[in-house]
């Protein structure tokens, strides 16, 4: 029960979160000036991809899972093909491996540029939207739009089309680009590398709320590369596991207020964070030279525990993706064949890759006809869902005396730093703040 003081008892509802992908709301209840409840209400209907993958031929899986998200379809394709290749014991050659990294770079470029410039920067510059921001920052917004366009162009060349690409298959690619086709994009990608460094300068100069939390950061890790498609899964609390152990270590839970499952550590039920901040904190030494120089000179002490600075981590990763894309284009040699042959056999495989917004886990069991018997897909936003609620529980107590609009703004800002993709998780935000009156 509240104490009857309307200033201390609040219910705040954000019925529809803006500048996030998908549909969800936020419910906050405070009584007597104390925070009682925080819920991210995910009301986007469940999408049942895992169910309707059953019985489908394995080569349909990359095309079907690409449809889960229009922003990060490559991530779904990459986790799918790596998991299925693990099931069949397929190991594509180095050229295919490099092309897949290039395809992933393209997606990181378009997704990170979109989030930094159009979705998240307005929060820190004091605008309600990118449209309002564009009037005062036209040069910056145009830069973001061009970066996104270049990422899309690269995606279109490698994937056949920018949205829901169609060239990826188990074993490799249906079509690989000609060297001269890739070369035609080199100048644009070189410009992107410059623009990405300017992006780091821009976002590292923003004013960020003072807030830190005791996070467990989780990401894919590779001994020699910044993580994308391989290999192990590590965390800031010392976890270092093979992807086959993912479901033993992490647990998905259903909560009544969300059509997206919540992921926690199975042993202690605690939340964790995936995404650019987690990746950068755990893999700083794997950044390419220009990206690492940008990360060192931007004024942020890494590892960083302020989620609002995810935009800086995202910008550093934009540099990383552009730098690596440029190197891959320069080194590209057309492979003799776009895909490796393999024998279909019954088996089970899993993989974790790094979507722009965090670790994406897939597991498939296929029969000897190559038909999917079971599928498991754990998207990054679902993994971050509990962590976002935990952040809000820690962040909001100091703000409950503020007007409801301000509480809603602070909450949405925090959620947006995660770049949640509710369409993937199942889709995200309306705010309901219940002050108990």
């Amino acid at each position: 029960m509240g104490n009857g003081n309307p200033k201390l008892d609040k219910t705040i509802k954000v019925d529809y979160l803006t500048r996030v992908e998908g549909e969800g709301g936020l419910y906050i209840r405070a009584e007597g000036g104390e925070l009682r409840d925080v819920k991210l209400n995910i009301f986007e209907p469940p999408r049942f991809f895992e169910a309707f993958l059953r019985g489908r031929h394995f080569q349909e899986v990359p095309d079907i899972t690409a449809r889960i998200c229009g922003i990060c379809p490559v991530a779904y394709q990459m986790s799918a093909v790596h998991a299925l290749e693990a099931a069949f014991g397929v190991r594509p050659g180095p050229e295919i491996r490099m092309l897949r990294r290039l395809l992933y770079c393209a997606e990181w470029i378009e997704s990170h540029a979109l989030h930094i410039y159009l979705l998240n920067a307005p929060d820190f510059l004091g605008y309600e939207s990118a449209v309002a921001m564009a009037a005062d920052y036209p040069r910056e917004v145009e830069r973001g739009l061009r970066l996104k366009k270049i990422g899309n162009a690269l995606l279109e060349l490698l994937g056949g089309r920018a949205t829901h690409p169609v060239s990826v298959c188990v074993g490799g690619f249906y079509r690989v680009p000609r060297k001269k086709e890739l070369a035609s994009l080199r100048a644009d990608v070189a410009w992107s590398l410059e623009a990405a460094q300017e992006t780091v300068t821009l976002v590292s100069g923003l004013n960020f709320p003072e807030f830190t939390a005791d996070y467990e950061f989780v990401s894919v890790a590779h001994p020699a590369e910044y993580p994308m498609n391989e290999r192990r899964i590590v965390s800031s609390s010392g976890l270092n596991i093979d992807p086959t152990d993912f479901e033993r270590v992490f647990l998905e839970e259903h909560v009544q207020h969300s059509t997206a499952l919540h992921s926690v550590r199975a042993d202690r039920g605690s939340s964790y964070m995936v995404g650019p901040l987690a990746r950068l904190n755990l893999n700083f030494d794997k950044l390419l030279p220009i990206a690492q120089a940008a990360a060192k000179s931007c004024g942020v002490a890494w590892p960083c525990h302020n989620p609002f600075l995810s935009i800086v981590a995202r910008a550093v990763e934009l540099v990383q993706a552009c730098e690596e894309a440029l190197a891959l284009i320069d080194a590209y040699q057309e492979p003799a064949t776009g895909r490796v042959e393999f024998r279909v056999q019954a088996g089970e495989g899993c993989a974790a890759t790094e979507a722009p917004r965090g670790l994406l886990y897939h597991r498939y069991r296929v029969n000897d006809q190559g038909l999917v018997e079971s599928a498991k897909i754990i998207p990054p936003t679902a993994q971050n869902m509990r962590r976002m609620e935990d952040d809000l529980r820690q962040l909001l107590p100091g703000s409950l005396d503020k007007p409801e609009e301000e509480i809603a703004r602070i909450s949405e800002n925090l959620v947006r730093t995660y770049d949640p993709c509710i369409s993937c998780s199942t889709h995200f935000l309306k705010l309901r703040l219940d002050r108990g009156r």
């Binding site: 979109l114 449209v131 036209p138 917004v141 920018a162 949205t163 829901h164």
Partner: protein, 200 residues
Amino acid sequence: MGGEVPGGPDAGPRERRPRLIIAGCGNPLAGDDSVGLEAVRRLRVCAEREGKARCPGGEGVAPLSCNSSPAAYDCRFLELADGGLDLLELFSEAEGILFVDAVQSGAPAGTLHLLPLPSREVLPGGLCLVSSHGWGVTETAGLAQALRRPVPRLMLLGIEIQGFTLGSSRTPAVDAALVTVAGTFPQILEALFGRTDPVA
């Protein structure tokens, strides 16, 4: 962005600047929500035929006078898979864009609505219902204006629907409206360009 409808009269060199883009929106698997896509397909068929045979009509496509059909215009037909920022690229490619989409306003199913965009009658982000971070035609037009980019004349041809249950077929009233869509073209051109004659 969506897929180009194959085989339309837009086939040819891409450097040609289309004067008119007709873009269908909707979900082909969601009953009445597919009506925008189907309307654009029919307009494309009509234009294709008219280009060869002086507007024969038929197959549910109303006959058109030749000066007021899509065939008489430098026209691209698109099916939009999503809205979002990528619409911005379309803005530089046309002098007029007609979006054809399912709408719900409470009017009888099958009612046609012709509205300029942005419009207070169309909720921001409401067109092209597939979410792409909430970006729709209204937001894209606002962004283009803020960036001092050209904004083409934008119209919505909304077709009132009854419902959009996944896996269902279109309702008869909405199907009946499809037959009348092509007949609205003179009105659409008048609204977009202030004339029905394609000669500039």
